[in-house]
Amino acid sequence: MPDATHPYRRRAGAARRVLVVDDGTLIRIYYRKALERSGFGVDEAVNGIEAMEKLLSGHFDLVIVDINMPKMDGLSFLRALRAQPEIGSLPAIVTSTESAEHDRDAARAAGANFYLTKPVSEDSLVLHAAVLTGASA
């Protein structure tokens, strides 16, 4: 039986929308520019709480979230997201400056679908976003 409370199928045809969650303004601008150049719709949030509010009020195909943020950090945010019935299945990329395996494990344990080590190059960001949202090549 399909679980109606966890819709994991994306809407057909619509432009992909990405929520960038990072407390660094420059990073958000950089991600936004890179993603918009490649045809993604982008919205931003500066911490986990704001991100949750945005996710609950609009449709997104991917969330890219930093680990270290004030108010609600990335991993707590991800846990809270995964426990949400309507939006819990949203694919998530975690970014962090740490590249050790236990950091990846921590992200995984929180429910991240992919992990990128900062700095993330434009090519890499766009490519991962495209693959994880199923944007046609």
């Binding site: 039986m1 679980d3 966890h6 490649s38 819990g88």
Partner: protein, 771 residues
């Protein structure tokens, strides 16, 4: 890993080797046109290919190196030892980066810093000095259009390239993608040029970047009215129109038409690597233990969404259904493993298709490298020696199949003789068996040859190593390589490097005398070190020979006695030749032995251990005052033997499967006594029973009448026998080490093999035992 990256890694390592070799020749024999051209081409190709990947630091460094080499080629720069060192350091760095790239798919952190420091080393070695110029501020004048194309592409992001392609699809016929690089004169603002306005008015602008020119002035000297910017853009349209737009500043602009396929090809394949990684990550995520209950559904759902999106990205809609079904079931039962199992099945299917597609892709990548600036003749040689890249496991699998075929074939022979068919049929069957036998043997040989590699793989690292060692030790050494084409199994060749390295170090460190000693001994100043390889009697032989001082046999004897390896009388009885073999004894490998024994002995037992592990042997020949030759003799192949392990007399022993036609369990009542002998009947034949423990002189256990007898039906020289054992254990493929040293006198054993738990298994030679 994408086929393209694979190709780059292979090609890159080859180019590094080639450039290293020729740099060493240049250094030794002085500058030559051809040598410089080869080194230049290697760097040029490396740089060109690197531009297809996200390895900016590597490209940047190689660009500077290439510029310097262009200077040498045109006689502007003189090549000297310092520059050779710097170029070699560059190649080392590229080699390391390739390793990291292979392991992690990207350059390590700090690559830019390393590149910068090597760039300044390069520049100061060439006597250029000055600040490191980022992104090749002054392109080599001789760089061709294709080369510039690769450079231009590297400057733009994936998104921008895609945008250009999208515009190109919309544009009419005759349009192309043009890369534009405009570096205005410093005084352009006063000339009435407005660079920004030029681009603003450009039709079909797809991407636009403004970069700092070089060198960027310090703040105090910064003059806002002087332009030190570089403008880069991608435009889609007709070349004439674009050139026309820049006609007034044509001397400051470079416009290069790009090949449409060039940006698209790598991008698509890069996508495959990312897709692989994303799929693998979802499986890991689903297997992550300890997920709080409320998060399980979200986790399953997000993994499903990610995988489905990968499939959509790749245009594999057909596979989506299976994943959806598994996701629904996993959600319903709150069991992530249901989904991960389905993902793994799908991934296997997907991989199989990619492998099929790769056949075409790797063929197609040759023109791609050509486009990246490789010379036509290099491409031709590449095509001449076609190499098929095969997963080692597949060859091993083939090998096992051949082994099993041999066993099955043996069964056929046995069946023919016991079938009771008429003579004509038996003869025909025997002919057929003979043919099968020959084919199986040929096939076995053919499969072994697939795994053969030339010794060059090992030898090629040594010119560089010997050069560095010889510089460090201050001992001039000429390295001679012989027989690089001799071949042996991949596993053997790969295991040769460490021992040979050890021997080379020993030779240079301790065998070769210091210069003044060589002079007094009347030897040439430059020592000669020879690495020699050849095949002999089913073995691959590698010799490391120096013309140093040799080994002092008397000192070895003394040391061996001191160490308690043997008593004085025994030591005195040894010939000099035998005495020097003691350098391989573990007890002699101490630091204080080093100086006294001309240094030999350091880690020599490690060399012996490494060689013997593969079933080889090592001997040393010393000519006092004239030199030392260490000879490694290894089997050509690590051919494994299929072995059945059995219990007999309370021990575990191995029996090669090829003599065993079957194993049976028999109620003890069916074994009868005929005169002195125990026999049983198998398919109307009376077969004698012998007990293995008794054959070996071991104690045989008391057997109860109710217990079944366990028999190996063995055929030796046309006679069949039942060999009783206490039990059968597992079958395994093992590499046999021949019985040597003290054990070599013992008959009845084929050799030994190491079991997984470190235990040594003796493998019986049943043929010999039963005769």
């Amino acid at each position: 890993m994408t086929p393209l990256l694979r190709q780059f890694l292979d090609e890159g390592r080859g180019l590094i080797q080639e450039a290293t070799r020729h740099l060493l020749v240049l250094e030794r024999e002085g500058e030559s046109r051809e040598g410089t051209a080869i080194v230049f081409r290697a760097f040029h190709t490396l740089k060109g290919s690197s531009g297809l990947f996200e390895v900016g630091a590597m490209t940047r460094m190689l660009h500077v190196a290439e510029d310097l080499l262009a200077g040498i080629r045109e006689g502007r720069t003189v090549i000297g030892a310092g520059l050779v060192d710097a170029l070699l350091a560059c190649l080392d760095q590229v080699g390391q980066w390739l390793d990291t790239l292979e392991a992690s798919g990207e350059l390590p952190d700090g690559a830019d810093r390393d590149a910068d420091s090597l760039i300044s080393t390069l520049r100061s070695a060439a006597g250029l000095g000055g600040p490191a110029v980022r992104d090749g501020g002054s392109p080599a004048p001789q760089a061709g259009a294709a080369d510039a194309g690769a450079d231009f592409l590297a400057a733009f992001g994936e998104g921008e390239r895609r945008e250009a392609l999208r515009l190109l699809r919309e544009a009419g016929p005759g349009a192309g993608i043009l890369a534009i690089r405009y570096e205005p004169r410093a005084g352009c603002f006063f000339d009435g040029d407005d660079p920004l306005e030029l681009f603003r008015g450009l039709p079909g602008l797809a991407a636009f970047r403004i970069e700092a020119g070089s060198p960027w002035p310090v703040l105090e000297e910064f003059d806002p009215f002087s332009c030190s910017l570089v403008f880069r853009a991608l435009a889609v349209g007709q070349e004439e129109r674009v050139r026309n737009a820049f006609r007034l500043v044509s001397d400051q602009v470079r416009i290069v038409p790009l090949d449409l396929e060039m940006p698209e090809g790598p991008a698509v394949r890069k996508g495959t690597a990312v897709a692989d990684a994303v799929i693998a990550e979802q499986v890991r995520l689903l297997h992550m233990p300890g997920c709080p209950r409320p998060e399980v559904a979200g986790r399953i759902g997000s993994a499903a969404a990610a995988v489905i999106n990968v499939l959509l990205y790749e245009g594999r809609q057909d596979d989506v259904g299976a994943v959806e079904m598994a996701a629904d079931e996993a959600l319903a039962k709150a069991d992530p493993r249901i989904l991960s199992a389905a993902i793994l099945r799908m991934a296997e299917h997907r991989r199989a298709e990619h492998r099929l597609a790769e056949g075409g892709a790797s063929a197609a990548s040759a023109p791609l490298t050509a486009a990246a600036g490789q010379d036509q003749d290099t491409v031709r040689t590449g095509a001449a020696q076609r190499v098929l890249r095969v997963d080692e496991a597949r060859v091993d699998h083939l090998m096992r199949l051949v082994g099993e075929m041999a066993v099955a074939k043996n069964g056929l022979e046995w069946l023919v003789r016991s079938s009771g068919a008429d003579d004509a049929t038996v003869r025909r069957l025997q002919d057929l068996h003979g043919t099968l036998d020959r084919l199986t043997r040929e096939m076995h040989g053919a499969v072994l040859r697939i795994r053969m590699l030339p010794l060059r793989q090992v030898f090629q690292s040594f010119p560089r190593l010997v050069r560095d060692l010889s510089n460090r030790l201050g001992k001039p050494v000429r390295l001679v390589l012989e027989g690089e084409d001799a071949e042996a199994d991949k596993a053997i060749v790969e295991q040769l490097f460490e021992p040979v390295l050890h021997l080379v170090r020993n030779s240079l460190d301790h065998g070769v005398e210091a210069q003044e000693h060589r002079r007094t001994a009347g030897k040439p100043n430059e020592a000669t070190l020879t690495l020699r390889g050849f095949q002999s009697r089913g073995q691959i032989i590698v010799e490391v020979e120096d013309d140093g001082r040799g080994i002092d046999a008397a000192a070895i004897r003394r040391r061996a006695v001191e160490r308690g390896l043997l008593d004085a009388a025994a030591a005195a009885e040894l010939t000099d030749e035998d005495a020097v073999q003691l350098v391989f004894a573990p007890g002699l490998t101490t630091a204080e032995a080093v100086s006294e024994l001309s240094g030999r002995g350091v880690g020599m037992d490690a060399v012996r251990a490494a060689v013997e592990k593969t079933g080889g042997s090592v001997t040393v020949r010393s000519r006092p005052g004239q030199g030392t030759t260490v000879r490694l003799a290894l089997p050509l192949t690590l051919s494994s033997v299929r072995i059945l392990t059995v219990q007999a007399g309370g021990r575990r022993l191995g029996v090669p499967m090829d003599v065993v036609s079957q194993t049976i369990r028999l109620p003890r009542g069916q074994i009868r006594r005929v005169k002195e002998h125990e026999v049983f009947v198998l398919r109307d034949r009376v077969i004698p029973v012998v007990e293995l423990s008794r054959l070996l002189g071991l104690e045989s256990p008391v057997r109860s009448a109710g217990e079944d007898a366990r028999l190996l039906v063995v055929e030796v020289d046309g006679r069949v026998a039942g060999v009783e054992v206490d039990g059968f254990a597992e079958r395994l493929d093992a590499v046999l080490r021949p019985m040597d040293g003290l054990l070599s006198g013992i008959h009845g054993y084929l050799g030994t093999t190491l079991l997984g738990n470190g235990e040594v298994l003796l493998v019986l030679d049943l043929k010999e035992i039963l005769r």
